[in-house]
Amino acid sequence: MEFEITLLVMACVFGLFMAWGIGANDVANAMGTSVGSGAITIKQAVLIAAVFEFAGAFLAGGQVTKTIRKGIIDAELLSGTPELLVYGMLAALLAAGIWLLVASRFGWPVSTTHTIVGAIVGFAAVGIGFEAVKWGKVGSIVASWIVSPALAGIISYWLFRSVQTLILNTSKPFENAKKYVPFYIFLTGFIIALVTMFKGLKHVGLETTIVQNYGMAFIVGIVIMFIGIRFIRKLKIDPNADKDFHFANVEKVFAILMVFTACAMAFAHGSNDVANAIGPVAAVVSIVNSGGEIGQKSDLPIWILILGGGGIVLGLLMYGRRVIATIGKNITELTPSRGFAATLAAATTVVIASGTGLPISTTHTLVGAVLGVGLARGIGALNLNVVRTIFLSWVVTLPAGALMAIFFFFTFKGMFGG
């Protein structure tokens, strides 16, 4: 194959561009609820996002990356012409990156995940052949796009109902908040750690058994819980704050909890969305490195995960903090007791999807989770137009990503020769 270095550099640049875009726009949706509820400041949000997006991408981003890289296209068909896969992946990256840039400019609600999946399916079906797409896998991905918001909604509904029963609707909500919130903190740490462990940390040199997984997750949960308890103990109660609104002090306890769920959310987002940027890069790199072999067996090089995680953090620092600030200002009706239920439910769903290797939309999952809290009569007013917007974004994003990817695919083919 010719132009190896050129193609490799292009892949890295496009991948970085895409990761940057995710950091600039997508992360804000994941962090906005936490900032909006007043639980954390923008500075803290950026810091949390930077650390945990990277950690999520690095520690748990492998599975979805694998799906994007080789789960959608049947690469067996391309063993004779590996360069087509390279062009296609480059085209998909470029198409998705540009589409996201355009869409965010105009404020269209698009999903990174849907764009990249649409782009890959598009170039494969048109550029290579209809049979090159693993339609079964694509079907399960699309199904997960419906299931994930629904699942997040169900989880957040019950989470919030449990908060109502255990804390808010009792005669001593503040005492009960102090009593039960540590348990939710434990739950947050436990779930995230467990899914991450189960997916395996082989790439950082850690092999574990099932019992060890549970044990480790349990320890992580306990440690995080004790950190939380320390913060709760330090909490200063302001008796005057409860005059107008009797739950002001209770919400302060939840605000501490929300710091932890914000971390979980950033971690979950990183673990799922980094793949959108580095999945195609990984595909290109493995083909080029193996000298044209379609290396289905090769592992994901760690530096690619770092590239993706770093790109996200870069986008976040350069541009994303402004978007977070805007969203935070717009979400004022969400109190920490709701915000935590929605965030934890979304983070759990996303992290499970990451473990299963399903690329889903974090934003849509979060929307489902917020609606779940709304169904438990927890939120003053929710705009149901958002559901229509989501469906619209599906209808628009998938073909847009696909068409642009097809265009770039044939352009590259013409440029580098098929």
Partner: protein
């Protein structure tokens, strides 16, 4: 910067505006006390000024009402039914309207009240204002109701407030019966048209408490969905 998917899904809660409207209504109707004091003393200058003040406050409440209606599109998903919420708003608004009507007709006709009923009349007005104040107390619990997700203790608390409101209203009814009886005894000595309007004003003051009670019962409907 355009709003993102997440931020666009949060509408502004109707709770605070509804409470502000009720506060505006209350502000309007408490002015009936100095108004009636002036009327009973036949101090028409003060009465006129009070009447203007009441009309102005009613207008302010009206504005709040319209603003709230504008921000409640059908696509909004709320923990309470949109229709019941708008009903509460309408009832609240009717209280202020009625106060304005009462002040208006009394000032317009420079009505005189027989001395035998004046004490009872004052008590009657004050009790009606108590009723709307109690309605306001209950409405002020709405944000706590949303916070607790309309469950448990908070609901019981609001229910007890509404019960209290019902008690005030029925007390007000009793005062009304007494005033009517007192008026009936002397009505033949008064000009018939004046008597007609006296009954009408008494009726309207009774309606004030009645409307407050209805705010309470609509609120009760909000609790159960």
């Amino acid at each position: 910067m355009a709003r993102t998917t997440i931020s666009s899904m949060f509408g502004s809660s109707p709770v605070k505006p509804l409470q502000q409207h009720m506060a505006g209504v209350q502000e309007c109707i408490v002015e009936l006390v100095p108004f009636f004091e002036a009327v009973l003393e036949q101090d028409w200058k003060t009465a006129k000024a009070q009447q203007k003040k009441i009309a102005k406050l009613e207008g302010a409440a009206d504005k709040l009402k319209r603003n709230l209606r504008m921000q409640l599109p059908r696509s909004l998903f709320m923990p309470v039914s949109r229709r019941d919420l708008l009903e509460v708003l309408t009832m609240q608004d009717k209280i202020a309207n009625k106060a304005k009507d009462i002040a208006g007709v009394i000032t317009g006709r420079k009505m005189e009240f027989p001395e035998t009923v004046s004490d009872q009349l004052m008590a009657f007005v004050k009790r009606a204002i108590d009723a709307s104040m109690q309605a306001q107390t209950a409405i002020n619990e709405l944000d706590e109701l949303v916070e607790t997700g309309f469950g448990g203790r908070e609901v019981k608390l609001v229910q007890s407030m509404i019960k209290e409101l019902d008690a005030i209203e029925s007390e007000n009814d009793k005062i009304e019966v007494k005033i009517r009886a007192a008026l009936f005894k002397i009505e033949n000595d008064l000009p018939p048209v004046q008597v007609m309007f006296l009954y009408r004003v008494i009726d309207w003051i009774g309606e004030l408490a009645d409307l407050s009670q209805r705010v309470g019962s609509r609120l009760e409907l909000l609790l159960a969905r």
